[in-house]
Assembly symmetry: C2
Homo-oligomer: 215 residues x 2
């Protein structure tokens, strides 16, 4: 009996996470209530989100958590494969490809990229993602690898480009997901093409000349 | 009497816009209700937002509208000044500086950049901003000017880098506003420094090599 209850509870949690991710992506974190998520997940009880997850923040954290594990696993594998490469493109690929390959593996359509961009822009929810994702020590390894193969630059330029990369990856992937969901062929017809275009652009961003501020 | 009523109504609208922009930036579009905005604007009537603006979408549109005019005006002035420059940096500056100079002119602290990033990530509200801002013909002029002074590239690469630029500007300015609001000195200690670093990075992004997709 106990096992059956756990299986049923786990299926309910999955149904809620699926419904929430989709509704947040399509209608917005700002508009969708826990009650609407419970209904869309086919729960007779409108308080199901509260019962299974707690607050909206807890629900957001659970959605992020469901994806951050597989992405971190792919990142570790990719970094292990490039070892001590001296090509900045390899290190930048480790920043982009784990997420696009994960999204690709989910099959079409996906909702997570649009959800993640909203979370990253929100003053409260963004800390949930940052805590969940930036704690991965492999990210530090990627930054160090990248630093070894680009010209030296002032520490604040490096930090600024780090911030820009984070934003560009999250938000371009959201744009790509919107394009794919709408069935538009341009600018990116697949996750692989978006990933490749993004890596090209980021290599340019990191190698960009640093000009003096006009006095 | 009529004039006095109009002045009072206009002051109320301004108070509501100020309160909404600040609350959305600091607590999030997802969390703040029209009722909380009315209260924060010092309105005894909790339905003041509805009375003066309508829905939350109408309120968002009004906030965007308050800033898009001055930004578009600065953009026109800047484009007129660079005329037919053949330096990509000049055209990219026209993309970044009108907004940073506008934010600078508002005095510290500002909230609009954090608000705008949330709006751009939201599936419903983003159309409000895009309709409001992309209708400016000067933006087409900037893209054409930029195209004239960068190496030729496939149309989908150009469109992709256009999307990336839009996202990078909106979201890096939100990051900069967060850094300034927190009083942190790095990576950017002023709008001018952020603007300069962003233009450097975007020049690199637009001039980045276009590599073939591995077969």
């Amino acid at each position: 009996m106990r096992a059956t209850t756990n299986v049923r509870s786990s299926a309910t949690r999955e149904a809620i996470l699926d419904a929430a991710e989709r509704l947040f992506a399509e209608r917005g974190l700002a508009t969708v209530s826990n009650r609407q998520v419970s209904e869309a997940a086919g729960q007779g009880n409108n308080a199901a989100v509260g019962y299974h997850f707690g607050t909206k923040t807890d629900l957001v954290r659970a959605i992020v958590h469901r994806h951050s594990g597989p992405v971190a696993q792919r990142r570790r594998e990719l970094v292990a494969r490039i070892d001590s490469s001296e090509d900045p493109r390899d290190w930048i690929s480790c920043w982009v490809r784990p997420t696009t390959e994960h999204l690709e593996s989910l099959g079409a359509p996906t909702w997570y990229a649009r959800f993640a961009a909203q979370v990253m822009a929100d003053p409260v929810f963004r800390d949930v993602v940052l805590t969940e994702s930036l704690s991965d020590p492999v990210l530090t390894q990627i930054l160090e690898g990248l630093n070894r193969c680009i010209p030296p630059m002032p520490v604040e330029v490096r930090l600024g480009r780090n911030y820009m990369t984070r934003q560009l990856v999250v938000n371009t992937l959201a744009d790509c997901e919107r394009v794919l969901a709408a069935g538009r062929p341009a600018p990116w017809a697949s996750w692989e093409k978006a990933s490749h275009a993004l890596v090209d652009a980021l290599v340019g961003l990191w190698l960009a000349s640093i000009t003096p501020l006009p006095s």
